[in-house]
Subunit: 193 residues, 2 copies
DNA sequence: TCTCTATTTGACCGCTTGTTCCAGAATGGC
DNA sequence: GCCATTCTGGAACAAGCGGTCAAATAGAGA
């Protein structure tokens, strides 16, 4: 061993994630990142490689946090259907909040980078698949519990719900009225009846 | 009058739109634009002002074209419901095509710029509202024709459908399977039954 | 044909970009 | 206490950025 780092790489990645989330990839300069992460060039490049790798690290952190939130919400004991309904409502609430205006980091990455960056595209596919799996599992649980129509294809419903949620996240960047969001939510949740 | 322009500003704006659509705002440099528009700096700045104004001009062109497509599709004589179904299917087909991978210019603008740029945010609100109006009118027509449940709120359904379409456009950037897209489409269209 | 005016052309500006590099500082193992 | 190793802080880099400007150019109206 030699001299230890003076900063926590996880905290630094967290700050990087916030910065990218706020402004997107291209519009966030390395100088911006240095300022918000509170470290200097040598440390950043020594720890994370370059801007692109740092972005991928930020995406991983995003997935970890979103994944935790989702799992806590969807895999809690009790009614699976209620969990799903709450899940959509949380997304909707976020949508009308000030915080929701920055949208979804993964969605931003999809729009900005996926068409031209294989690494980001692959990351997104994994991210998307995991989310679908998690929601589909919850739907299947709801079907076993007899709360959700058992003739539905759980995976298809998961795709449908997450698609609507993606739309909501984008809608959020346009500071929509609560009424508008509620319209979308109500019709979306009809699929579970 | 004096010396006339050697290029067609509409054509130039069209090329700018394609360039921004392909790569986004920040990642498209003025040099890129000059190359694809086939003109030199003086002409660009003299005609469009600066990069931001050119982007807004590109957005206007996008709206004009999308709007025309939508109107042709939705306001054609005959079944309004069929028109809506076709409308969603066209979006879905685009989603799995090579072209669909670049997503939606308005969606990209929303993710990349809306949270920090009032001009873009305002433009998006108008764009969104016009689309909602158009789809809602078509739904109302379907209700008059007795094809769509008249107890539904036409505006709410329009919001729901466009939300799903937004999601599809983003899904398209992840080169999804046709099966996945079809799952989403089928469940989305259930609302019209 | 001459003049007037807008367009074209490309050099040029200061600034920012992402990245590299290195001297000096700090640490843990011996 | 020394050495090997790592981290720190900042200078330096070439390339690219968005934007300006003045001279050359060419068409329309007289």
């Amino acid at each position: 061993m030699a001299r230890p780092k003076e900063f926590d790489p996880d905290d630094a990645a967290q700050e990087a994630m916030e910065a990218f989330w706020e402004r997107g990839y291209a519009a966030t300069s390395v100088n911006d990142l240095l300022a918000e992460m509170g470290l200097n060039r040598g440390s950043l490049y020594g720890t994370f490689g370059d801007k692109k790798q740092l972005f991928l690290a930020a995406l991983d952190r995003y997935e970890a946090q979103r994944g935790d939130e989702l799992r806590v919400m969807l895999e809690r004991p009790g009614s699976a259907k209620t969990a799903l309904v709450d899940f959509i409502h949380v997304a909707a609430d976020c949508c009308t909040s000030q915080e929701g205006r920055r949208g979804c980091l993964a969605g931003k990455a999809a729009m900005e980078l996926a068409p031209h960056d294989k690494d980001v595209a692959n990351w997104l596919k994994k991210f998307h698949r995991r989310n679908i799996d998690l929601v589909a599992r919850t739907i299947a649980r709801g079907q076993e519990q007899g709360e959700i129509d058992p003739t539905l294809d759980a995976r298809a419903v998961a795709r449908f719900l997450l698609n609507a949620m993606t739309g909501l996240r984008l809608l959020g960047t346009m500071s929509p009225s609560e009424a508008e969001v509620q319209d979308v939510v109500e019709l979306t949740l009809k699929v579970l009846d």
